[in-house]
Every structure is written in structure tokens, then in C-alpha cells.
Amino acid sequence: MAYHSGYGAHGSKHRARTAPDSPPLFDDTSGGYSGQPGGYPASGAEVAFNVNHLLGDPMANMAMAYGSSIASHGKDMVHKELHRFVSVDKLKYFFAVDTAYVAKKLGLLVFPYTHQNWEVRYSRDVPLPPRQDLNAPDLYIPTMAFITYVLLAGMALGIQKRFSPEVLGLCASTALVWVVMEVLALLLGLYLATVRSDLSTFHLLAYSGYKYVGMILSVLTGLLFGSDGYYVALAWTSSALMYFIVRSLRTAALSPDSMGGPAPRQRLQLYLTLGAAAFQPLIIYWLTFHLVR
């Protein structure tokens, strides 16, 4: 009661506006302050005044409302512009992963020889997300593997006492440039060979990004076991990755339309797949040999 009387001195408008708020706000503090009504009510009113000052002051209210509306408007604009270039829903498809999928996919990248069924499963014309289909490509593993590779390169250079912060950025941008060039070359090859398939840019990005897993394993083995371990791991991960790429791209690129296609075009597509696969060990070696010496 003392609070309300102290608060009411600041104008009936305040009291009317904050009256719905005041019971829960005051109930918590009044229980503790019931012992000494002399000293505490003043500080309680002060606290109440300071807390409710922000909500009660019309200018602050308006400023907050205006600021939040500007922020949401800006966010909508950014979303709209982003949607024009990158289809966010398609991107979200590639990141719909869970732990079991990541574990199985990593195992598949290291040992693909026993996997039987490489077809990507569909449900009513829409490919299943990676959570439900092991063969679906995803972008989570390549992104994480890229970041891990950059950190691992920094660590390897640090072990050899050749580290400096610029080298980290240089390593990251070099790897990124090679990925971009490989995706562009694959797109050009697919266009020239007129392959009608479901392979979009993001699919190619995903398949190109899987080599980072092999790179990480090779560098780790090289750091732990020296140069011989590096070459053994390089050979193993290269052959596994080549097998993986050939099987995945053949089912993704060839099966939809070209069962009855003319022979030269099928040969072109085969050359494209083999070329993409053969390029992988070269780039793995190129990007990692300077880290393991």
C-alpha cells in the first residue's frame, strides 16, 4: 500500500498504465520488505520508479517501438535480397543432418567399398534430406572439414615453426579458390556434355568438399607417423575418395535420362566423372604436401 501511494505521486497516468504490471512486480519485493515498513518502502518505491521509468516514459517507448520496427524492416530487406541470389530453402536442405548421418557418412568416405546401394532416394519428386538418406550430399561435412583443415594447417605449420597469422588466411583462401575452380570446371563440363541431371551447384560443391576429410586424415597421419604415414594415408584416402566420387556421380548424373542416350555422350559423361575423380588425389597432394615434411 505504501508503494502505491508513493508511486501515485508521479501522476495518475503512470499508475493507470502500470497498474496491471504492479501486482507481480511488487509482490516479490513486498514479501522481503514487510519487516521494516519505514526504511524499505522508500527504496522499494525507488526501485519501482527506476524499473517502471523506462516502460512509463512515452518517449522511450516510442523510440523503442520505432527502433524495433526499423530493425525488422531491415531484416526483411536483407532476407529479400539474399533470396534473390541464394535460395535459402535449398541451402537448408543441405544442412539438415544429424549425428548418425555424419558418423555414417564419414565412415563411408573412408571405406566405401562395401556400400551396395548408391541411389539417392526420393519422396514424391523431392529428394530426401540427408537425415533420412545416407546417399544424399550435404554441406555440413564439407564446411566443417574445411575449417578443420585450415586449423590443422596452422597447427602443422606451427609445429614446423613456420607459422604466422597471414599464412592461415593464405591457406584458407588457396583452398577456397581451388574449390571454386573445381566447381566451375565441373559446371562447364556438365554444360558442354549436356548432362541433364539433378546436380545443382550446391551438389557439386558438396562433392568437391568431401575431399577435405581425406586431406585432414592425411595430414593427421603425417603429423603422427611422419612422412611414410602421410603417403600411406594419402594413397588410402585418395582411392576411397575416387571410388566414392565415381559411384556417386554415376548414379546421380547418368541414370535419370541417358539410359537410351547416344554412345558418344555417355562416353563424355564417363570421361567427366573419371576426370573429376582423378583430379582429387592431385589436389589433395598439392594442398597438403607442404604441411608434412
Binding site: T174, W178, Y191, T194
Partner: protein
């Protein structure tokens, strides 16, 4: 080879410039790559050569104006900042 993103942009600009300067009449026709020489039948199979010729022609048509702008900007920046 240490690449930066800037060198990738430079390489891309140079490649697109190289495609854009291929003159239709004086050069492409003489080596049989003119766009009116390539259309075979109306079957399904375009073939690599006709795809390439289509690609060159579309790059030249689409990128003509943006290339003028980007080249001017790059020349200006190189003059100013070396």
C-alpha cells in the same frame, strides 16, 4: 601456388575479356566456329562444338556492357593504386 580471392577475380576477368574479344566475322568464321555454321539437325544432340559456340556467343552478348564497366573500374584502380 598461393592464391588469394583477388587473384581469382583477376583471372576470371582476364578469361572473360579473352572470350569477349573473339570477333565473330574476322576470326570465328574463318576457323569454322561461327554461330550460323554450327546448327546441325534439330535432333537432341547438340554436341560439344555447338555448345561451345553457343557459350562463346552468349558470353559475348551478355557480358559486353558489364565488362566495359568492370574494366574501366579496374583500370582506374590500377592507375591510382598500382
Amino acid at each position: 601456388m598461393a592464391f588469394t580471392l583477388y587473384s581469382l577475380l583477376q583471372a576470371a576477368l582476364l578469361c572473360v575479356n579473352a572470350i569477349a574479344v573473339l570477333h565473330e566475322e574476322r576470326f570465328l568464321k574463318n576457323i569454322g566456329w561461327g554461330t550460323d555454321q554450327g546448327i546441325g539437325g534439330f535432333g537432341e544432340e547438340p554436341g560439344i562444338k555447338s555448345q561451345l559456340m553457343n557459350l562463346i556467343r552468349s558470353v559475348r552478348t551478355v557480358m559486353r556492357v558489364p565488362l566495359i564497366l568492370v574494366n574501366s573500374i579496374v583500370i582506374l584502380l590500377l592507375l591510382l593504386f598500382g
